[in-house]
Symmetry: C2
Subunit: 480 residues, 2 copies
């Protein structure tokens, strides 16, 4: 039996080492490896229980990065073909998916529709493994087992009131923003929030500015709402109100952490921006997406707090703080705009699902949410440091400065490095090594944009960050 297993293992090793992957093919090396491995296991059923070669070994044999192999193993593991055992090692599962009873099971999805895991160093991804799934599931169960009569009554399109109350409390404690639950509108995300502001409050007319670099899909989102949006170049201190036209209907800003550079807007600029808005009557839309994760220093409170919520609308989201699965965000409205927003959402109807709302309200009211945020702040802070340390070798190419907050680093290219290789070329090279990054210049519309690499660290554990850093160094170093 042991002998038999060993034979099977050398057969499997042999078959795997003999694979040939096509570097010119449209499918990625990882996808090709997945398909080949899947076909191999399905065509020959006798590998059940066999140990797979170590990822390092297989990567060597196939001349691919180790990450390509580990990602393929993970993919097949999530599909049920492979499993890992305590003490290490990846094995072929005993019951391969196709050996399951042939009844049409709705929970078995064809592999081509299986979702890819987030690849390092994707940004904007919360760590899902450290999320307290058990607590969250209990809140869901508790909220819906015998639901509050008000949950089943005619819904308030502003969302579930206790959640709005919990968000108001969160904003007071974490963001220095004093508002009432009646000012909070629950949305299915930033897109809906922008639609409500631009169609509901601004009537789908007028011109606005957004930061450049900035959240690039914004212009398309707003164009769909009938608004023209002008990109406005930011400097190291963010948007400069002195340079803004006087006939705008709104300015969209990320003062707590400029997206994607992570820089905070200093107080004088904030005051200038509020002065501009007050004198021109324009609205300011403050998009605050991950500044709860603050590692050093005292945060400036939200711009909306400084303004006392008169000219500033505040946008928040739970996708980055907790999980993208929620699809819940919120919009904090100045009192003067509540009626118009209510008229608009009454007409178009609510879109955010009610299902997660009472559970999230319970999760927040119980204090588990704050405990989770504080825990993730420690974890993410450590991860940022690990990534920066692991990238030390690239110090001559990238400015490796820590960021006092957030979930990703935006590392500017050093001038001499940028001459040799653009940020977009760097991103392409990293991709070939299995590392997902973003070029700062790809967030800009205006010419001659700043160059930098955007690396997400929040969603990945320390060994994976170190491995990704190694791949990134291998990708950027040999040619320079």
């Amino acid at each position: 039996m042991a002998n038999n297993t060993k034979n099977t293992q050398s057969n499997l090793d042999g078959a795997l080492f003999a694979l040939s992957l096509d570097r010119g093919a449209e499918a990625s090396l990882q996808a090709q490896l997945c398909t080949a491995l899947r076909d191999l296991l399905l065509s020959q059923g006798d590998f059940a229980g066999t140990r797979l070669p170590a990822s390092r070994k297989l990567a060597q044999e196939l001349s691919v990065s180790r990450m390509t192999v580990t990602a393929a193993y993970e993919q097949l593991q999530s599909e049920g073909y492979l499993l890992t055992r305590m003490g290490g090692g990846t094995y072929v599962a005993q019951d391969l998916p196709h050996l399951a009873p042939p009844a049409p099971r709705a929970d078995r999805m064809p592999s081509q529709d299986r979702r890819q895991p987030w690849l390092p160093l994707s940004h904007g991804v919360a760590d899902q493994n450290l999320f307290p799934h058990g607590q969250w599931a209990r809140h869901l169960e508790r909220a819906w087992r015998s639901p509050d009569a008000a949950l089943l009554a005619r819904p308030d399109p502003f969302g579930w009131y206790p959640l709005r109350a919990a968000i108001a409390e969160h904003l007071r404690l974490w963001r220095g923003l004093d508002c009432g639950p009646e000012q909070i509108l629950i949305t299915s995300g930033a897109r809906e929030a922008f639609e409500i502001v631009f169609r509901g409050l601004l009537g789908g007319m007028g011109r606005s500015v957004m930061e450049d670099p900035g959240w690039s899909p914004m212009a398309g989102v707003l164009a769909a709402s009938g608004s023209e949006v002008l990109p406005h170049r930011v400097d190291a201190a963010g948007l400069d109100a002195c340079a803004l036209p006087l006939d705008l209907s709104a300015a969209i800003v990320t003062p707590s952490r400029h997206y994607p550079t992570g820089r905070a807007m200093p107080l004088p600029r904030r005051i200038a921006l509020l002065d501009w808005a007050r004198s021109t009557g324009a609205l300011i839309i403050e998009d605050d997406y991950d500044s709860e994760f603050r590692y050093q220093g005292q945060p400036l409170p939200a711009l909306a707090g400084l303004d006392g919520l008169t000219q500033v609308l505040y946008l928040g989201s739970f996708s980055k703080l907790l999980s993208h699965t929620l699809r819940l965000g919120y919009l904090v409205l100045p009192v003067a705009h509540i009626a118009a927003a209510r008229a608009y959402v009454n007409a178009v109807g609510p879109r955010a699902s009610l299902i997660p709302q009472p559970a999230l309200a319970g999760f927040m009211a119980s204090g588990e949410f704050a405990i989770h945020l504080r825990r993730m702040r420690r974890v993410y802070g450590k991860r940022q440091k690990v990534l920066l340390d692991a990238l030390m070798e690239l110090d001559d190419l990238l400015e490796l400065a820590p960021d006092p907050s957030g979930m990703h680093l935006c590392l500017p290219l050093r001038r001499k490095a940028a001459h040799a290789l653009s940020d977009q070329e760097m991103v392409a090279r990293a991709k070939a090594h299995g590392v997902v990054s973003k070029a700062l210049s790809s967030y800009a519309v205006l010419p001659d944009p700043p160059q930098g690499l955007i690396l997400g660290y929040a969603g990945f554990d320390e060994p994976l960050l170190r491995q990704a850093a190694k791949e990134l160094i291998a990708a950027l170093r040999p040619r320079l």
Copy 2:
């Protein structure tokens, strides 16, 4: 003690019978009664445990409809002021909300933000009391306790695959529609589905037609997507393709159950409509919202099935079948349109929450969904009959014909009745009696619309339906 209770009770009765409600006030009689009762209980704390007068008695004393009183009692019950005891009777709660510890509890909402229950005979409301909340909560808990890795991976903007597979199976069995999970796109509701079709597939251009009468907010929804939508008068057999222009980009139809009249489009009209679409290249958008609830006869399969899903896109929703709290719908796409829809949703991102999706997939795959639908079909069928029987007295005003399917009745006004009173006047009178109805003519844009009363029966139990019918008779009868 017993004596004391009795004294308190007669005090409460006295105080209540002495209330004066203002018929000219902007607030409804029900809201006034709620406020008065709440103030009474809060200002005098010694009513705890006291039995309230019977709704019939209080209604008599205050000269309001009994429904006004029962609705007010229900409202205060949902707020925690009142409770009902086994064996009947409504009592003042022992711990009134304001007597709770004064800690800022996020799950306690101010009464002005409490949601109103659905009033009879609101239409489009599923019965929430008969929903298997326990099963549903267990599916939620099971799905998220230790979630499938794919749920936490990069999301497919088309939605959770096992749910799409379960919907495909449901459509095959219940609607005679043969499609694959890859053709199904999960949305946050019909608005998002229309946005995807009109912006993503039609590029926000062109003219379309919708039925008149029809779902009146449609024109606004589509105008926001850049499309012009022309109302087109339907006759008893629905939209007549022979009368359609040849230069349209789409026609939106409800062939299984015309909205809101409930009439089914006969086969010859369906074939003519498909011929028109094939010869002009226009899309047909089939909006199928509640035809799973079929009480008599053999249903025609979905138009999309007759078409083989080439020119027809099919829209479904769970809001009416299950619960409005889900905010989940879906769009079934012809294979040729999948790529364009995918490009669009990839760009704009998914909006339907993932949280309910795996739970709903489990609920459907386990068979509990089908059991629930069959149960509700029996219940709703009986309710329709109860409402029709209870309205028999209005036979000279309304055509009291049963509807073979659906969740509401659309009762046409008899010609001689319509001369005396329009459907909108009837609706206004019914409202004064606490009955919510809709005028068929209010669903029309074109002049000289048909007249009828739309009465929802699905969401209300039989005693409530009989009571509502009585109020409706009282509202319509005295003046004729």
